[in-house]
């Protein structure tokens, strides 16, 4: 059983929701970002999404774009990210997902990346710009190295299409709540609950929802119908301001209100 599957099963057994967090590796440099990630892992993160910076992050809003630019300006490479994952793996039990865009992975070689990631103790890959239609080059290598392939489902994804995507999915399902790029939203769309309930009928995999979450109340509302929430841009900002622990505490408080039900 993969570390991700195991982690979600344990959370489910304990009646808890998963707090999934994204941080861009190398922002603003490797040392500082590793410290922020360690703080997050120590202060309540259940699953870590570690961002591999890319020069042209077309699905990201200004916050994560800027984080990627700072990381690249500091010279962060995929190898640095994998080395960091490896150090984190030795110290923490939480699942680690490598989150990024296709080209830096493709440039190193898909098979090589999977081998390196598995070696570093990474548990899954989420590649934003590799949809189902392009995933056939990637999936066999992920599987061969015991890595989960985390799919994205969007509000624009039909139920029929979701079924096709979920047939190939392992680990968990990442539901993008908004029509748009990453970034903090004051309001989340009203159709999130409905979409999540529909997705439930398509898969037995854990569902986490992200894009836009920054506050306890949002976490609470979303987690009513999801197995967890993802916090990205808000966590990146919190890391810059030294508020990682405070933000995670706040979000956890929101999740607690719907836990154990």
């Amino acid at each position: 059983m993969s570390r991700l599957t195991e982690a979600f099963e344990r959370l489910r057994a304990e009646g808890r929701k998963a707090l999934v967090g994204y941080l861009t590796a190398g922002d603003p440099n490797l040392v500082v970002s590793e410290q922020a990630i360690r703080t997050a892992l120590e202060k309540g993160l259940d699953v870590l999404e570690i961002g591999v910076p890319f020069s042209d992050p077309t699905a990201d809003g200004p916050t994560i774009q800027a984080a990627a630019q700072r990381a690249l300006a500091a010279g962060t490479t995929l190898k640095d990210v994998l080395d960091m994952a490896n150090r984190l793996r030795r110290d923490y039990p939480q699942p680690i997902v490598l989150f990024g865009y296709a080209n830096p992975f493709f440039c190193r070689g898909i098979e090589q990346v999977c081998a390196d990631a598995a070696q570093a103790g990474v548990d899954g890959l989420l590649i934003v710009d590799v949809p189902l239609e392009e995933s056939h080059d990637w999936r066999p290598h992920l599987r061969a190295h015991g890595l989960d392939f985390i799919p994205l489902i969007a509000p624009t994804t039909s139920v029929e299409r979701a079924r096709l995507i979920l047939k190939e999915a392992t680990g968990f399902v990442y539901y993008i709540m908004v029509r748009g790029v990453t970034g903090i939203r004051t309001e989340l769309p009203p159709d999130v609950a409905e979409h999540l309930r529909q997705l439930r009928t398509c898969t037995s995999l854990p569902l986490v929802a992200g894009f836009g979450v920054s506050r306890a109340e949002q976490a609470r509302v979303v987690a009513r119908d999801a197995d967890g929430v993802v916090v990205g841009s808000a966590l990146v900002e919190a890391a810059r301001e030294g508020r990682v622990e405070a933000l995670l505490r706040e979000l956890r408080a929101g999740l607690k209100q719907v836990e154990g039900r």
Partner: protein, 418 residues
């Protein structure tokens, strides 16, 4: 007459040209791309659509564009040089061939709003133009640096009723404009039609744009047969993303007697590292929805392109060009900013035609090779656009001292500015 079928024509059903192309986009956009592909397959086979497009290309754009024999240029360089006059199209470039097709398709699909990215501004102007024609809303994403380089086109778009959205991220040129356009499309994907201007981006764009542009090549074929009685020996076209080149090359792909030459921008020279020659000097990578040749560093980060011409200043290239390069169906080379500028002046002075800096790259390679080909050789250069938009750039680089020196008034004016 039909060109050879030996080489693959068009992408496979998932949008791959050999190992290139595809749909490397976030899931949010996939349903829109699938819907677009279905709609495009329908109109391709729809006589009513094709008739309306043909009518607009004739009466609104002014097609067919002439195939003009440049006598003085031919005399100086020793081969028969013909210019395919896309610069004479309405809006001054080949871009409108494609935007008309896509806007007609958008209307069929019930979309109320168009959006586009633009580098030189030609595609933005062509999109704003068809938006006005069809009474649609229009937003054009343009890098801030390009807005300065191509100021007249910004004004034209605004006059046409489009909103020009300045892009301040990254290099503030075409690459970032396209990234920002993709981000904006994600947020408005249900009511907005994204008009991509090049044979790049995710499937079906590279295929669809090339088909809308291949009217250039079909006309060139017919006009060559009519005027010369045979096909040309060589065809030159500039390649940034590669839409004008794909359009003029496509009917001739596989015809061994016609040599096709795609001319990329070598900027300050390939060795300088400051260029936009993705095929000549790039490696295979994935950007903006497709796999193709790409300027990138050893870690897969996209490198900044450089070209004096905003329309070629892009680190990628259409996937079909990548396949043609691998197959040897088209030869790709690159010319520097300086060579392109010289060709710009040469064509202006010899023929009274001011070419776009993009097209000047094709002219430069053509006049470099013409003397070696001999008097009987027939060359076609795709003059993809006119150069009015580039006057500021050319004058700035020349320091107001335009070659030949018959421009005291302009020099004086530039002097005042300095």
């Amino acid at each position: 007459m039909k060109s050879s079928e030996q080489l693959q024509k068009g992408p496979d059903e998932r949008g791959h040209f050999g190992p290139y192309g595809g749909r490397y986009v976030a899931e949010t956009l996939m349903p829109a791309l699938l819907e677009l592909e279905r709609a495009y397959r329908e109109v391709r086979a729809d006589d009513g659509f094709q008739r309306e497009l043909a009518r607009l290309l004739r009466d609104y754009v002014g097609r067919p564009s002439p195939l003009y024999k440049a006598e003085r240029l031919s005399e100086r360089y020793g081969a028969a040089i013909f210019l395919k006059r896309e610069d004479l199209n309405h809006t001054g470039a080949h871009k409108i061939n494609n935007t008309l097709g896509q806007a007609l398709l958008a209307r069929r699909m019930g979309k109320r709003r168009l959006m586009a990215e633009t580098g030189a501004g030609q595609h933005g102007v062509a999109t704003a133009t068809v938006a006005a024609l069809f009474g649609m809303g229009c937003a054009v994403y343009m890098g801030e640096e390009d807005m300065q380089r191509q100021a007249p086109n910004v004004k034209r778009m605004e006059l046409l009723g489009a909103e020009v959205v300045p892009v301040r991220s990254g290099t503030r040129t075409l690459k970032d404009a396209m990234s920002e356009a993709l981000r904006a499309w994600v947020a408005n994907v249900e009511d907005t039609f994204y008009v991509i201007g090049s044979v790049a981006g995710p499937h079906p764009y590279p295929w669809m744009v090339r088909e809308f542009q291949s009217v250039i090549g079909r006309e060139t074929w017919d006009q060559a047969m009519e005027h010369i009685g045979r096909l040309p020996d060589m065809i030159f076209a500039c390649v940034g993303g590669g839409s004008n080149a794909a359009g003029i090359f496509e009917p001739f792909i596989g015809r061994r007697e016609v040599r096709l030459v795609g001319v990329e921008a070598a900027g300050y020279g390939i060795a300088s590292g400051q260029h936009a020659a993705s095929i000549v000097a790039g490696r295979v990578g994935i950007l903006h929805g497709g796999k193709s040749y790409l300027l990138q560093d050893e870690n897969g980060q996209v490198r900044n392109a450089h070209s004096v011409s905003a329309g070629l200043d892009y680190p990628g290239v259409g996937p079909e060009h990548a396949l043609w390069a691998d197959q040897g169906a088209v030869e790709y080379c690159a010319v520097t900013d300086e060579e392109a500028l010289n060709a710009f002046h040469e064509l202006t002075r010899l023929e009274g035609i001011i070419p776009a800096l993009e097209s000047s790259h094709a002219v430069a390679e053509a006049i470099k090779r013409a003397p070696k080909l001999g008097k009987d050789a027939v060359i076609v250069v795709n003059l993809s656009g006119r150069g009015d938009k580039d006057l500021d750039t050319v004058l700035r680089i020349s320091g107001g001292n335009v070659s030949g020196g018959h421009c005291c008034a302009i020099e004086a004016k530039e002097g005042e500015k300095r």
